[in-house]
Amino acid sequence: MKTKTATFFGFLIAFFNVSALPAQDAAKPTAKPAEPSKKPPTKEILAIVGGDIITVTRERIRGGTILIEGGKITAVGQDVKVPEGATKIDAVGKTVTPGFVAVDVGRMGLATGGGSSSDRNAKVFDTLDPFDRNLSLGLGIGITTACVEIRAGGFGFGRRGVSDGFPITERFLGFDPDLEENDAIVETAQRDYGPFISLCKCCGLPIIPTEPIENTPEAPATQQKSVVLKMSYGKLEGMLVSESAFLDMTPGSMSGALGQYSWREQIAKAKKYLLDQASHEKVIASGKKEQPPRKPVSDEVLRLVKREIPLRIAANTVSDIRDQINLSKELGYKLVLTGAAEAWVIPEELAEAGTEVVYTPRRRRAPRFGEEQTSGTWIEMSRVLEKTGVPFALTALSNAMSLDGIAGRDLSSLPLEAAFAVRGGASEKTALAALTITPAKMLGLEKRIGSIEVGKDADILLLDGSPLDYRTYVETAIVNGRVAYKRAEVRILPVYSK
């Protein structure tokens, strides 16, 4: 009886909250019309009081208080006094965690159609759509920061490319095609061979039609590009965090002797360019005039060489993983492996090279015949990686935020992956870190997000249970110090009291 009444009242409260929302908003200015313009410039303080705070990087704080000012955490602890005038959020009985960080998310938070990859001058900021419903869906399961793919990777075998206006003379995967160059190739081939369907992606030879069929339009070779977005629903400010977090490459680009040779050449060119650039700056500083050196590679490759961003590449088998580790050690860049199905076989090699891993604990891959002990996936990978000190972040089976298809596979079940990591033997602390501080480090944002600490961005979740429990709902999600999601109001997830 009691629970029934409680449920009923829960509904009532939820209902009134929602229906009263516009009225409340509207009532503020009408009550005192002169007030909003004379508002003092003091910043609003938000206080989350009484929650069980899982800080991730430090000890757990029971019944603690978090103060938020100007979008940042200004105080955390049990003895924190709530200043007068602060907006209080009651978190008694709630679990408070940092917002989750998703490193592999499909296109979301961006207007559809806008910012197409073909337009070089398109700015990511201009395509941001803070009213995308996917942001709410993400917040609904706790994702407050996402590395969002803005351009899917395409093939680019043996193409010449242009990066920021500089032609890339090497035939190398992953750069935008030089369309003029392509046209010239097509023209020559047409002169030599007559009409053809398309050029072979690997050898550049024309493919002659066997029967009269329509020419399919050439798909442009593109490099995958991702940006880091905060799920700041309804606010543009602070939504775009970083425009490049990884250099993304497809595994095919580095397979084989030629691929690896090209890659080494790229890195060598980037290193030489950086040296040339430094000496050029010296010359300019001494007052002489000199042509600046030509930039031979993309900015991302330069940032990779400077160890500002890691290379993110898929590698699943032991041999592929070894190849990547060896290249990263030889060429001296940071490496993040995705997939990494067989990483459990050689965890020491990963740990030694400082390689990080993004994987999906619920993904299964059968061992190869004859290699039953050393191939395929293993549920205990999370334990093995934790024990050997390989940092890992988690991602879902699909990188979409979907309301379609089988539930539980997409990002709206991301915390379940952490639960599976625990099932495989990792500690709860590591599993939660795999959703927060570890991916934050991969994105180079560990100073801003990933844990509840003074000075960090106030990206905080109020949960009605353990973050690793499938029954847990996010009650409130705070992004950049602003409440961006309330389960009772947004109503994309069921609203009832347990």
């Binding site: 516009p22 509207a26 207007a111 201009d126 395509t127 759509d129």
Partner: protein, 401 residues
């Protein structure tokens, strides 16, 4: 004393004669408020007198409007015509689709989406079907085109329409993409303060005589007016996010007054970022949904509670507009019955849009000296069954139900 005159509004013989409408309930939408059993005296297309005790000249033509209500003619601040490109005969003519009707007008097609169109140069008013406007009681309208253009202010006549002001307002369509936002940002940036201001069009003469002020292209002039707050900028927005982008892009230019053409639910979503002082909304009159829910909401009511100014454009709600000819106020009346203030609703149909398009000195309310643009309704404007009986523009009847 019971005289009934057949009204031949177009007939020139009657043009000089004054027209008196009496016994009507008059919604003036001015300080005078509502006048019961009032008289409107019209001479030379203007309102000569209005009130309860107006003496009707003997020679005047008299309409007895007992039981009827008179309100100012509706002003539509955003009457869209779409300019399409005719692939076959590019350069010579272009096709304009007006409310489903395809017509061809002289003038080349726009070369790109950001090319500037001055509508008064390229539109043939006689080729547009004005029936929908006149039947809806629209007596003044701003004719607009999507994209980058300058509007034209038009009023319908009995057979066609005439231009009231060929130099209308600056219009831009903004989407969630860089090119359209750059147009806005560059336009609002004062010249010389940054790279790539609005480029002079081909029409501007390059070599000016020394000492003379450098040539200013028509678009630059329009942008200057917008920057200085002399003229408002009409921004058509396609989603809620664009509102935020637009507000962010215009934060620097404090004086610029922006008119957002936007759906109610988009406006509701972005409402916390809007400033009632410098932003005005034009929206279709209808009950909207709260975004991402199945809850209905009266956005105009919400806006009036927030003190956010707004105007209705009847033609923006395309389907309702077509379906509700003769009872064009049905959609507005449903908003009024759900809590929108009556006066606010009337203003949003007349005075507010008139102010936005800069014709409030002439139309928008029933006051002495203003144009005699009014509607005779067979009941209260916001009663569900009320329909339009007659529509007058400058004292001439252009439509009778």
């Amino acid at each position: 004393m019971f005289l009934v005159f057949a009204i031949l509004a177009e007939n020139q013989c009657f043009a000089q004669r004054s027209l008196a409408i009496r016994n009507a309930k008059i919604e003036t939408v001015s300080k005078a408020g509502v006048i019961e059993d009032g008289v409107i005296l019209v001479r030379d297309g203007k309102i000569e007198a209005i009130g309860k005790d107006v003496k009707i000249p003997l020679a005047a033509q008299v309409i007895d409007a007992k039981g009827k209500t008179i309100m100012p003619g509706i002003v539509d601040p955003y009457y869209v015509v779409t300019v399409g490109r005719d692939a076959q005969s590019a350069g010579e003519t272009r096709t304009i689709v007006v409310r489903g009707q395809t017509i061809t007008v002289p003038g080349g097609p726009p070369s790109s989406s950001t090319s500037f169109t001055k509508l008064s140069d390229s539109i043939d008013l006689d080729n547009i079907d004005w029936k929908a406007a006149t039947r809806s009681g629209i007596t003044t309208l701003q004719l607009v085109v999507s994209g980058y253009a300058q509007s034209v202010i038009v009023q319908p006549t009995a057979k066609s329409a005439q231009i009231v002001n060929p130099d209308g307002k600056l219009l831009v369509s903004v989407t969630n993409s860089t090119p359209s936002l750059e147009l806005l940002r560059n336009g609002l940036r004062a010249p010389g303060s940054g790279p790539g201001g609005p480029r002079p069009t081909a029409g501007a003469t390059p070599g000016a005589t020394p000492g003379a002020t450098p040539p200013v292209s028509p678009t630059q002039k329009l942008w200057t007016e917008v920057r200085e707050g002399k003229s408002s900028l009409f921004v058509n927005l396609n989603n809620a996010a664009t509102i935020l982008h637009c507000v962010a892009a215009t934060k620097e230019s404090k004086q610029a007054k922006l008119v957002f053409i936007v759906s109610g639910s988009d406006l509701f979503e972005a409402s916390s970022d809007l400033d009632p002082k410098s932003h005005v909304a034009i929206l279709p009159p209808r009950i909207d949904f709260v975004p991402n829910t199945r809850d209905r909401i009266n956005i105009p009511k919400f806006l009036s509670e927030k003190e956010m100014p707004f105007a209705f454009s009847l033609s923006l709600g395309q389907n309702e507009f077509r379906a509700q000819l003769d009872t064009p106020l049905f959609a507005v009346s449903s908003l009024v019955h759900n809590g929108l203030g009556r006066q606010r609703a009337l203003e949003a149909l007349t005075m507010m849009p008139a102010k936005l398009i800069g014709v409030d000195g002439e139309v928008g309310s029933l006051e002495v000296g203003k144009k005699a643009n009014f509607l005779i309704l067979d009941g209260d404007p916001f009663a569900a069954t009320t329909s339009i009986q007659r529509v007058f523009v400058e004292g001439k009847q252009i439509y009778e139900n």
